[in-house]
Amino acid sequence: MNLFGQTVSVGSGMFLLLALGMALSFEFVNGFHDTANAVATVIYTHSLKPMVAVVWSGCWNLIGVLTSSGAVAFGILALLPVELVLNVGSGAGFAMVFALLISAIIWNLGTWYLGLPASSSHTLIGAIMGVGLANSWASGAHEFGEGINWAKASEVGMSLLVSPIIGFGCSALLLLLFKLLIKRRELYEAPAKDQPPPLWIRGLLVLTCTGVSFAHGSNDGQKGMGLIMLILVGILPLTFAVDLATSQNSITDLASTTETISYQMDRHSPGVAMGGYQIAANELSAYLKTSGKVTERTFAAVGTKCREISDILSGKTSLSQLNADQRRILRSDLYLTSEALGKLIKQKKLDDPAEQKSAAKLKSNMDKVTKFIPVWVKVAVALALGLGTMIGWKRIVVTVGEKIGKEHLTYAQGASAELVAMATIMAADQLGLPVSTTHVLSSGVAGTMFANHSGLQMDTLRNLLLAWVLTLPVCVLLGAGIFSFGLNVLLRFGIK
């Protein structure tokens, strides 16, 4: 059968649609979870009718996904084991994708049914770490946890510590500030039945709801896109390995820049010769592991790969002139070289500022060829996330709105918690703070309840903290277990 201009077997076609269905379901369930961050305070302060709030939030999530760049999608892929990303069309590659999707869906569904607002990002990161761990065991790694991105793990650990403190502290302080500056009793009392807040508070809450929904769509909504692209590259490499719409100028520019960089890399590795393209690829794969150290051979490998890219691209006016094998090799080379250059820049191993600049420019040009997302993928993900937002919102919203504090949320409490959540999303994007919006909002509501002397439901708080702390280890175990099971099945059936 013909799919996107590539002939595949009926089995492969069915497998592709199954994987796409699972990936879109992951986004759908993701929508269940994170809506509460945007709409809980708006609903419980009667700023918007529940259905209006949820549809509004769903639409802004949709717009957020459609206008996103895809950077977050590929950022998540950078955490995956390099050898599996490069061989995603293999049985192990598909076992990885399914393990990630199934473990994230299981934890998201479980916590959602219990009404616990757990972080979807932590869930996916946990599953990725689990797959990395199982993969390093399966491939006989010498060091424990070689396949785990420990920097990301410590970031999640830091988030567990920082998010509740920011949420609880800042929201409580903001509420106290409101009380000090605005002397209007109705702001600090439970709203009368269906009575909306004063216009300015209502406007503020609707604005923050809009901002949080948009930011969620343009940020968290992208995670599924990266996985969908991996699936497409694995099954339909001819169409999706590289961006076939790359212009002739970009191709020429890439071919000449790779050649220039290869000479620069040779200067860092005098007299070091790579015994072939595959040896260079192995060298870069080893460097990209968390335990990988830079040596002269790393620079030589980057130089060799740049020359290979330049050779493949020379004389070509369009990437569609490349055959299937060349496209697959080009994608591999671009991915390895780009990630290696990124790591060299991050580790400040390129001393010369001009060299740093040209390496960064080359990385950006390479990423444009491999890190692209077709519009139909964005639309499908946006619809799945938007629909999930509109359908599964109730459970978590009830927890945030009714089960954290002992009294009904007041207008000022809703505004304080939501303002802090919105500010946190913006600060996290700008400053790279390791915080979870889900944790910040739930803690924010708790903080305002505490500052208002409304009382806290300790059972809910205990369950929340337990779920937050357990998310990472449980997802690591789920990811590792499902991936190992998948590998075992593949071995038994002799699938490569």
Binding site: M1, G13, M22, L109, Y113
Partner: protein, 119 residues
């Protein structure tokens, strides 16, 4: 009197609606919107069963999508006549919708059978 098999199946698939007491003073539109149309606090066992059934729904739903989708694509590319092509695609889409609906009903019935607190 012994309940018939059909009546049992009907109760299982379409249980009688029992609105929550807290929603009694609300209109139908508000009942739909406010969170009182479901049981907000599930026990661990209930949540486990619900999550398992939801996962099965996702997996089998995706499988149905894959099978129907593949045959829809095959029909689209292999049938020459436009009329027959559209008819085949519509039939496959209908088959998908009906089988998905049946899957949802069956899984809902399964949840009710195995739920620890059956009504």
């Amino acid at each position: 009197m012994k309940t018939s098999w059909a009546a049992k199946a009907r109760t299982l698939l379409f249980p009688p609606a029992e609105p929550d007491d807290r929603a009694a003073d609300r209109c139908v539109h508000e009942r739909f919107a406010i969170p009182y149309t479901f049981k907000p606090q599930l026990s661990l066992a209930e949540a486990f069963i619900a999550a398992t059934v939801a996962l099965l729904r996702i997996f089998f739903g995706s499988l149905l999508f894959a099978v129907c989708g593949t045959y829809t694509l095959l029909a689209w590319s292999n049938i020459q006549s436009l009329f027959l092509r559209v008819a085949a695609v519509l039939a496959l889409v209908l088959l998908f919708v009906v089988s998905l609906f049946l899957l949802m009903l069956a899984s809902a019935a399964l949840t009710r059978i195995y739920s620890p607190r059956r009504r």
